[in-house]
């Protein structure tokens, strides 16, 4: 897979059980940017995200990843080239932290020494010194540490694209801020294209290079953070009003 992986939603509709989750959704994601999909619960943002690594397929329309619709991809190959971080983290409870981080490299048959080196390096990078944390099990970590390990796992096989599904949503505000700062730091270092789902407008403004606001399955606004603050759409105003409240 090339380094300039680009995702494009082409007129994507997704309906399930008579309910339309995504309604003729179109969006082009450029290499290197962090695009935030912002929206309320049920706006379709998570569905849109899961279409990128083929966990969900459009009812109609196409999601193009690196020039090819997801329906034509070898899904195993596609998923191994995309990092995925979710709110519940989903670390394997029977794997040590290091084994969890080294998971995708192992699936890709890297040499054990190389996996070890990569996992150690990434753990240091996300603030979990390997000497202290590598041999622990997920249950022996705090929520924030688990999420750090989750980020390290997503980065392990050096994917060209990272997907984040409300990764910091379950954390306390202080830890959330720490992890947001770390996200910005990692972006400086690795410069990967990221799609980031959140319902937190402040997080969107902090982390996004562009913000795509979803409302009832449609793209309501698409703007850079500064432009988003000036949006006139009622849905954008509703999100920004919350910003003024606090």
């Amino acid at each position: 897979m090339g380094r300039d992986l680009i995702v494009e939603y082409r007129d994507v509709t997704y309906a399930v059980g008579g309910r339309t989750i995504l309604d003729h959704f179109a969006l082009k994601i450029e290499a290197g940017e962090t695009i935030v999909l912002l929206g309320r619960s049920g706006s379709g943002k998570t569905t849109a995200l899961k279409m990128v690594n083929g966990l969900i397929f459009p009812t109609s329309g196409q999601v193009i990843v690196d020039g090819k619709p997801t329906t034509e991809w070898d899904l195993i190959k596609l998923r191994r080239s995309i990092g995925y971080v979710i709110q519940e983290v989903g670390l394997f409870p029977h794997f040590t932290v290091k084994q969890n981080v080294g998971l995708v490299p192992k699936l890709e048959n890297w040499e054990p020494a190389k996996i070890d080196q990569r996992a150690t390096e990434l753990l240091e990078r996300v603030g979990l010194p390997a000497s202290l944390y590598a041999a622990r099990y997920p249950r022996q970590l705090s929520g924030g540490q688990r999420q750090r390990a989750g980020v390290a796992r997503a980065l392990a096989a050096d994917p060209a694209l990272l997907l984040f599904d409300e990764p910091f949503g379950a954390l306390d505000p202080v830890t959330r801020l720490e992890l947001q700062n770390q996200f910005l730091e990692l972006r400086q270092t690795f410069g990967k294209t990221s799609i980031f789902v959140t319902h937190d407008v402040r997080e969107a403004l902090r982390l996004g290079t562009r913000i795509a606001l979803l409302h009832q399955g449609k793209l309501d606004q698409l703007a850079e953070p500064a432009g988003f603050r000036q949006s006139k759409s009622p849905e954008a105003r509703a999100f920004l009003a919350w910003l003024d409240e606090t």
Binding site: L55, L75, R79, R80, Y84, I86, G90, P93, H94, L103
Partner: protein
């Protein structure tokens, strides 16, 4: 004790052990894959579980009796007894496989898929290890009950420790009944302890 009783005790205990081992072995080979199938094909789950449940609700003596006229697997003897014991042991193994896999945190399964695990990697590296404790618990229940139920095999000529018990009942001889019951109880306790130990060893989470 009469010397021939001791001699018989050893050979019948051996026979009993063989009956139980073969039955549990085959029940595991059928029950675990069927349990996994139930997690993969929701439509099959109902019918498969219903079949296994019905098998277990049939009184054991009746189940042995029902099988006698069935062609191929029926008749008098060990083969029929083993078939009945397998049917009996199936439910706990099958159900615990299903429950063990279903109770895995959905986030763990979702990340496994999203990390690009193939279905067989998901099964062998994630689902079975995480379900192993529940799975062993099912095998433990099945083994302990099968050791007891296998004493009824003697009623259809299946041999085992039940031979003592049925003969003891017929001749109102409590020594003979105990000669069948005590070794069976000991066997059940040993199996329970051994499998319980394995179960605890597997408590990874």
């Amino acid at each position: 004790m009469r010397p021939f009783l001791i001699h018989e005790l050893i050979s019948l205990s051996g026979e009993h052990l063989v009956l139980v081992s073969i039955s549990i072995g085959i029940a595991i080979l059928i029950g675990i894959p069927l349990g996994i199938l139930c997690t993969r094909r929701e439509r099959l789950r109902g019918p498969i579980l219903a079949f296994a449940s019905i098998m277990q609700t049939v009184p054991s003596l009746a189940l042995f009796g029902f099988l006698i006229p069935v062609p191929l697997i029926g008749g008098i003897g060990k083969r029929t007894a083993i078939v009945a014991l397998i049917l009996y042991a199936l439910l706990p193994i099958l159900r615990n496989t299903l429950v063990g896999i279903q109770s895995i945190d959905p986030a763990v399964r979702e990340s496994a898929v999203a990390m690009g695990m193939t279905p067989s990697q998901l099964l062998w590296q994630v689902e079975l290890p995480l379900a192993s404790r529940t799975l062993i618990a099912g095998i433990r229940v099945a083994t302990v009950t099968t050791i007891g139920t296998a004493t009824i095999a003697a009623a259809i000529g299946g041999g085992g420790l039940g031979v003592f018990i049925f003969r003891g009942i017929a001749s109102v001889d409590s020594t003979e009944i105990l000669a069948g019951a005590i070794p069976a109880a000991c066997m059940a306790l040993l199996a329970d302890g051994g499998l319980g130990w394995i179960e605890r060893k597997l408590s990874v989470v």
